[in-house]
Symmetry: D2
Subunit: 495 residues, 4 copies
């Protein structure tokens, strides 16, 4: 879906240094769309939709308890369950709740008409409803055909947000939903919140005249940002855009902390493995690898690292991990976790060496890290043991335990902590307010990064969760350091 149909595939080889600069971009929400499809069953563990029939929501007119009908979702009856999930997510998204309260009588988004296209989950629901509380009128579609939590979509609709999304949309459904979202008769969007660039693309192609009213775009995915920069270069970007993906808070927190929490969760839910004493090799010691290694070591695993970059390798060494080639440790390890952002890191030559029962999973940035093609051969038998768990069986009976078919483990087999998502969502909300309320002329038709000051504000909104109290800079200290008492504390080029 997506790029393949309307855009040429992203040429990673053009990015050169780009990749390295963005190893930390491999966050869960900013995935190339082809990867996000892996999340098919991921949310199902909690939010099971098994009772749903196969008919298309487009065929069945539905209505909320208050009689609203401007939406299209799977099953409005799930609204109550979805509302409970949203309530749970709210507990871990304190900054958005503070923004709501902070608004008080003031409505910074009064008059804003936001069309959005993101994953539809409990966490994004908290974001969407926060925008509404701040005065915006929102219409929303899903940025991925598989990731929608139907119950949450129902709760949003029941709560009054026109939502057009369900899990398992066809491609036609996908664009239909976006179009319905954009094209209300009584309403014209003046702000875009996008995740992947499809919404922006659709408006550009089909409703370019809308851009006259649009004050700006907030985009948070690698793919979407890449598209925006391309448009900008080509002179086709006709409104300002804010790049949320490369904000400091997102970069500093998303990968390390999120993966540290979810690697254990994903492995437990799929395999019930005991970590204590197990030998694990983690391929790649960037931020994702660092998070995985820290968590696995903390639970008593013996962790090995593979690296191509000497600086990361030296960090791994000094952090207490043996650095080896995969071929050297493949024979002895109980688990292999890939976190490189590279392709074909685990190849048949390694797989042939692994021992019976070895677990294989991917926490990295694409599903290409494990060379699955080499496992789809006649002599190897695949057996689906549990959802997301395949045994690939060698002729001699050896079983390799493959999780999520090599797609992202934490998207497919665990949940992602709402708190980490809260940081990105808050940044999105603030970026939207900034673009919407900025005086004319502050932003041109270009792609902007958030100023450090706003990054620091996002961080500060998350401190009350931890009952953390910042120290204040005294006048004397501010003078000594040559900074303002109220920040920013980081230089502009800090990332």
């Amino acid at each position: 879906l997506h790029e393949g149909y309307f855009f040429p595939p992203i040429q990673f080889t053009d990015q050169k240094q780009e990749f390295n600069k963005r190893t930390s971009n491999t966050g869960h929400r900013s995935l190339p769309h082809s990867i996000s499809q892996s999340s098919t069953d991921s949310y199902g563990s909690v939010c099971s939709d098994s009772s749903e029939d196969g008919s298309s929501p487009r065929d069945k007119p539905r209505r909320t308890s208050k009689g609203l009908s401007d939406f299209c979702i799977k099953n409005i009856k799930q609204a109550e369950f979805g509302r409970r999930e949203i309530i749970i997510a709210q507990q871990e998204m304190p900054a958005l709740m503070i923004l709501r309260k902070g608004a008080g009588g003031e409505k910074p988004l009064a008059g804003a008409q936001v069309v959005g296209c993101t994953h539809i989950t409990a966490q994004t629901a908290v974001l969407i409803e926060t925008l509404s509380v701040l005065g915006a009128q929102c219409r929303w579609a899903a940025c991925n055909i598989f990731s929608t939590q139907n119950a949450v979509a129902a709760a949003l609709a029941e709560g009054g947000t026109p939502v057009f999304a369900w899990r398992g949309e066809s491609e036609d459904d996908f664009w239909w939903c976006i179009d319905r979202c954009v094209g209300a008769e009584t309403w014209q969007p003046n702000m875009i919140m996008d995740d992947g660039g499809d919404l922006t693309h659709w408006i550009h192609k089909k409703h370019p005249s809308l851009f006259k009213n649009i004050k700006g775009i907030v985009e948070e995915s690698v793919t979407g940002i890449y598209r925006l920069y391309q448009m900008s270069k080509a002179g086709r970007l006709c409104v300002p855009a804010i790049n949320v993906n490369d904000s400091v808070t997102k970069q500093k927190f998303d990968n390390l902390y999120c993966c540290k929490e979810s690697i254990l969760d994903g492995l437990k839910r799929t395999t019930d493995i005991m970590f204590g004493g197990k030998q694990v090799v983690v391929c790649g010691y960037g931020e994702v690898g660092k998070g995985c290694c820290a968590a696995l070591k903390a639970l008593g695993a013996v962790v090995y690292v593979t690296e191509v970059d000497p600086i990361c390798a030296l960090q791994a060494c000094m952090d207490g991990f043996r650095v080896n080639k995969l071929s050297e440790v493949a024979r002895q390890v109980d688990m292999v976790v890939t976190c490189t952002g590279n392709k074909s890191v685990v190849r048949r030559e390694h797989l042939d060496r692994m021992k019976d029962g070895c677990i294989l999973c991917n926490m990295g940035h694409s599903s290409t890290e494990i060379d699955l093609v080499s496992l789809r051969t006649a002599e190897l038998r695949w057996e689906r043991m549990r959802p997301q768990v395949d045994h690939v069986i060698w002729p001699d009976g050896k079983r390799i335990v493959l999780l999520a078919e090599g797609r992202l483990l934490n998207l497919s087999c665990s949940t992602v902590p709402s708190f980490v998502l809260s940081i990105t969502a808050t940044t999105q909300a603030l970026a939207l307010i900034e673009l919407y309320s900025a005086p004319e002329g502050r932003y041109k038709q270009d792609v902007y990064l958030l100023p450090k000051k706003m990054d620091e504000y996002v961080a500060s909104l998350h401190l009350p969760t931890f009952d953390a109290h910042l120290s204040e800079v005294t006048d004397e200290q501010a003078k000594y350091l040559g900074i303002s008492k109220h920040g920013p504390f980081k230089p502009n080029d800090y990332r």
Copy 2:
């Protein structure tokens, strides 16, 4: 169920020092039966039985693919799925697989006719089928009406083991199953493997003549051991019994390592909470508490401890945990975990202080640690948010998140690592072999502990999993230490 019907309730106040000596007894498998009921939905996450109808298995004759009919389970069609779960469990139960291989041509249990009554799970299935490989004929019933994994029971039956068990038995079903298990026409048990003492009790009451043929009992639960000692004191124990519960390997590994692994898993599966920076109070710093604290700290939580015992409190301090009264920290913590083995540790006075969203769960030895009665009052509203997750809502809107209604979190909401269960299961198997093959007169009509040497053997069988290589004691060293080169290395009173 159980004690309440036929036995007077266990008088804990008689045990006095017993409890303390046995803080480590609070393992998952040796729970008083009233607690084990909490496991109703626990295994469901993996092994969902939702398609099953409501009819009683007793009414529907079933037959395996090979035409066997001497069993009674829910649905033989689930055998294939159950077999996959058993295969997964085998990967983590290496010692039993070694025992199977070690047997070779030899069948140490040839002629043994074992009647068993334990939880019916993938792990016990590995144990039961190991006994069969070693030569035993087995018949099995469930020791708990809620804990049976129906698919595993089906796989056992399909594999040829007469099993009488299903999830959701009535009390009548429970005893009917045990009776069918004992009373085969063509077969008389000569060994008992029990978990909780109900099977032993039933034979004693209903088929006392069977004891003439029975060579011994292997019992592994606190409750069952308590009953055996009572019988022994009363002079009513007419065969030897081995107390597996108090073996060193079980005591040293079950609680610490098992809880360290499962506290995180149980919290994640129910609440998707992020651990980093969360404030947690762990009530009790025995082995269970030590495991919970270590895991939570390792994932970045700020952990407080409460203790009544100064020695454990001092250990907590020196391990880096603040020791406070619950009333002192109740206001600030995000989670409360009880691990004391005591009752009413968390009381309404504490609950009233907790903040909105505080999560409350129990890893300790009984469901009495949280005073639930004080929460079942008119002014508090309960809302079931997810399976095993209730919000208790105060009049002012404050929500306390109660997990598993205060029953054991790791039994109810997570899985228990097969590897840890392997240690107990191996001990059970070896105890059975010992009792069965011991020369006449070695064991009297009494309750025995395993000799250290056998404990050390169980441990050594688990070392290959870790590719661990023991050093050998030289002759010179053995002489210096005054021990045998081959152990035992611990004194007899070591626990």
Copy 3:
């Protein structure tokens, strides 16, 4: 010195299980005396006595600033410096300071005339002066000819305690000091505090009539306890004695926590080595080994373990350490640490495999763990690089870095935390009070262990340091558990 002269050497091979039961006995203060000699230079790093001349203190009459002369030490002028060391130690020995305050007007040791023979260090000085504050009159000698901190001895003398001790006593000096200590004209001891048994032995041999007045002995070393049990068996023990060495608090805290702190310190002070990424093998995974492994891993070392005992080996595995034979890892490790209590654990065959620069040290219970004899051969050259640091140089230039000539690293090359010593010292003080004030007949002529209650009291006296607040057992809970609200909380056989 010592045993060799008047006693047959301790036959360890007679102890059989004894050793294993007492792996935790290998604490710093209860060392066989032949080991303690290793502490020659240990305290020197802080408390340098370089200005002292070579003359014997016995020849030079000295006098305190107040004119007292009933003492014999090296140099009274060092009193001020020694007092500062005592003040520093007091900060970390809170329980003794609480005892002093607790006394208030009351003097539980009023009338006690205590003759003592222990190491003379800042920590024992705090103990001795605590006894004085509690009403006792004390006279003190050193239990080791090398370990006396001369400045501390000076401070004690200046403070009014008759002390007879200096670093570097001859054997004749040693017994002369003890004799002067015992044999005051105006004073007869009625209590003995001993560490190693030499004082008890001397009185037994030379002044047996004194035992008529003596109410009891407090002994805290393995060696001294061994002697007392031998005397008791032989019917020659004529007063009650309390075995402090085997008290729970000493056993539970001394080895684990003390070694965890001092292994890093000892290695840093001698070698300035960086721990991050270094490969270390720790021989033995008892309490000492567990402490060393935890500390080294925490600082980023890659730690391997060797073990002979399968149970300890399995613990090491599940704690995340690879278990190997020394011969398997000798080639690759940067450091070897012995903690077994065994002999010849590191042998020439291992030493020959080690790589250039490998550091070798002993944290275990005797200096026999490394086979030094095999290193004292013609082809190997020894070079003293720093105090306590030798390079043993192979013919090909390979250097093995041997610390403290294989004696205890933490006694020889680091300091031991005063706080841990405080636990033992408090136990000694309480044991002395108990024996002194016990009603006639409570104690016979036997060796006693402390009751759990007193162990728990010692622990509780150390909690205020950590601002730790114990929870109280409610009446309902006490009844449920069948214990007293005020403890003891551990069963009597708990260790």
Copy 4:
């Protein structure tokens, strides 16, 4: 000394963002010179020079065993001891030893005449002698009047390097040494290696004609780099210079790993404190703070953090540290460690709240973090307890334990791991080779950063120490990532 005499003081307020960008610059070797004076006694613990008389080395002609006299040091007799220290340092500086071997017959520095001015320690001696092995002729002076290890200087001289340095130089001595170093009759420098910029400054002022022959400057301190940029801006820099201080390897490894290792060491050597359970507040959570917090937590301390920057504060939270204001925790903590790079972080208002025995030390970038002026008042009594340890005594008897008078703890009271210094020293050596051997025109009269490729080479030279094996990038992967197979792997703006 230094800046104060010939340069205006560095105006930190001009640096603005500079400071923040360079929080990681606060390494031990790149300190403003006024701080380095704190190292007076630091090396003395190991390398005691107590036997030296007070006469000036300038007055006493000395001669090596081979008759050389072109040097001026304290005492040539210490050469043997100094050589041993150099040998110990070599063991931990593997990359330089590899460079020596790598040279083989080739001498990349043949013809180089290097005049150097750095600290004279065992580690810099390894660097200097490496340059010699690579073909250079070196003459060396000390960049600090207090930090010279006299025995090492003796060993260098004995080894043939003209060295002019001793501990305790007067200011006049300082410049005399530099001048003697520069001004050999038979020799003209063509390369400068500087640390602090004094040497460069002196040549510029006194021997400007020498710059005609000089091919470049290698500078590694913050101060020296600042001076070079000022010279460059003013158009007075007449040769190329390489800024070693801001190389990735130095920035990524120096602060985090170095401080993690040395905070524990510094505290132990001065106070013998037990870490387990102690409450510590670490002010500042930059790289230095992160290292200190990690180490203290790992040893069982309860760690609090203070921060002014919300992003660092949020990291501290998610890493498991409570973030508080100093005033909030001052009353309860046992230790205060400053790591902010700011001034007056600990003020009298905080000091007044601290409890008796609280330990106070500085790991940050200047001695200004603790407001010492507020402690130099009449009512407070200072007592020197040990070297580098003062008790500041309040009128009520409360004692605050101040270490190193607030100067850098790890420079003053512990050693710095040679391995970490090795990374910087290797970078210096490679920078020197690059500047010396670069073709004419590659470098202009400007200040250069090392290319990433060379940073990665430095890292790779340190991997063999850990027996670490890098993975290789395949052709397919290189194409996928758009990078060269051999790196660099980091983008140019990576820091």
